[in-house]
Symmetry: C2
Subunit: 306 residues, 2 copies
């Protein structure tokens, strides 16, 4: 099966979406931007064996490579529009590609995203790069750099589940809610759209809550005080792991793709599925407290600060 066949057979769904003038099949796609918007562009690469274990299903890989990009679109408060796919394959057959495409289109369909172009190549390993373009009203993008002292720090959903799921997956468990949270992350597109013009800053949690919050604070030139006992943990996580392990996953595990954002408390009153976990401060430090006591958080988890 040559490249052209592969694209045509599995990836050339008709782009019916408004705004896609020419989709897959020409030298480039022709897209019609919405009047008075700015465009958001994001790109993320998944490498087999690095970003996901080699033994997970093709449909999950297809879903996940879209979702992690949509998560960046969500963190900017944007509406997803167009996607391109660069697929480098090794030792995969048509069945794999078909399942991959099915998972990919499941993720795009949930958010009205159109696949408008791409490139498939043969290589020594599986490398998947997705590029997504979204739109925001002019000036409405939520940046990492907008946090202000006095903002409340929030996180959507629950954190730690995906990292716990990845650990279970490595232990051979594959039918579990935590594993599904790793394989099929939920891009917080609706929440991101609601946060546009409300939140002062946002980032998606891909490297771990503390690490990503630190990036946001550095970009904003501020600090924060976080109460780690407020960090939202799922019932599934607490059923499988003790509290210390659960908190370690929540604070330092990556792959959750929840949003961490800062906003004045009154700006997000009534929003569902968000949890306040702390406050932005003037100084540049990130202080974590566990029931009032200062603790230090690093890659291995948290420990009492002595």
């Amino acid at each position: 099966m040559d490249e052209f066949d592969l694209i045509r057979r599995f990836f050339s769904r008709d782009a019916e979406a408004a705004g896609t003038v020419v989709g897959v099949g020409d030298d480039g796609a022709v897209l019609q931007p919405t009047r008075n918007t700015q465009q958001i562009q994001v790109t993320d690469t998944l490498v087999e064996g690095v970003h996901f274990p080699a033994n997970i299903g093709a449909a999950d890989i297809g879903y996940r490579c879209v979702a992690v990009n949509l998560s960046d679109i969500a963190a900017m408060g944007a509406r997803p529009r167009w996607m391109t796919l660069a697929l480098t394959l090794w030792d995969k057959d048509e069945e794999w590609v078909e399942a991959f495409a099915a998972g990919l289109f499941e993720a795009t369909a949930e958010h009205g995203l159109s696949l408008v172009g791409g490139d498939t190549t043969q290589g020594d390993s599986v490398v998947i790069t997705v590029h997504v373009s979204g739109e925001v009203e002019e000036g409405a993008a939520i940046l990492r750099s907008g946090a202000r002292a006095g903002d409340t720090v929030y996180v959507t959903g629950t954190v730690g589940d995906a990292a716990a799921g990845l650990e279970l997956l490595r232990e051979g468990v594959d039918d579990d809610e935590l594993v599904r949270r790793f394989l099929r992350p939920t891009a917080r597109i609706p929440q991101g759209l609601k946060l546009s013009r409300r939140a002062h800053s946002a980032i998606d949690v891909s490297d771990g809550l503390v690490a990503d919050l630190r990036k946001l604070l550095d970009a904003s030139g501020v600090g924060a005080e976080i109460d780690i006992e407020k960090v939202p943990l799922s019932a599934a996580l607490l059923a499988r792991f003790d509290t210390d392990s659960a908190l370690r996953f929540a604070l330092t595990g990556g792959d959750d793709y929840e949003l961490c954002f800062t906003a004045p408390a009154d700006a997000v009153a009534g929003m569902e599925n968000i949890t306040a976990i702390g406050t932005v401060t003037e100084n540049h430090e990130l202080v974590c407290r566990n029931v009032g006591e200062i603790v230090e958080v690093d890659a291995s988890g948290y420990r009492h600060f002595t």
Copy 2:
């Protein structure tokens, strides 16, 4: 050197270009589309050992990965604006990355292209995916599908040089004009912009003149008669190879990144550096003639049609 350091050190040049509201460093780039334009998006992947030999210099790889994408932008008649880079590396040091970045920025600077985002990952091989967005006035994109019977078929520059250069490179020759044509392809951006609203159809020559022309004709539902003795060959190519070999490179070798396009002859009168090589016909066949005699062209070259 972690991913963040790598991006910051070598790829975070300030995007001064108008239209880049936020560049590298946030969850996504924020871009300001030009009023009354449509956007063109293209993406192409280069895999080490597949699209280029492992022993070519990092600066050439950096230049080339941008140029092959700009060539698709040129084939659409568009003006390049924004670029993202997804870089998967294996066994490369800082010196390699620095030289790669230098070559990459050489190619972007020639055409006012801004690097606005990307992702760097570690993998088992070197895989480079570049995504470029360009702009055209509404309705002005040149498609593959617009060729009409009676159009003249043209090609820019000379063809065959890059394929000959790749052969020389494999033989160990590295300081040669033909090799440079492979390593540093010229994206025909100015010609593409001139062709917008003049040419009926266009494609860039990446897989070989005959193969790419066939794609254009298929997309347009037409055929063509080509006089292969009119195909433009460089003095450098003819100095190194006999006419048969030169024509084989020109007709079936890829990597030239010239434009093949069709237009009414009077629409492109006075345009420099283009050569008429045939005529578009009603039927769906591509007929090649050598000084009047019909010949058959396939991957191994051309032969008399008996």
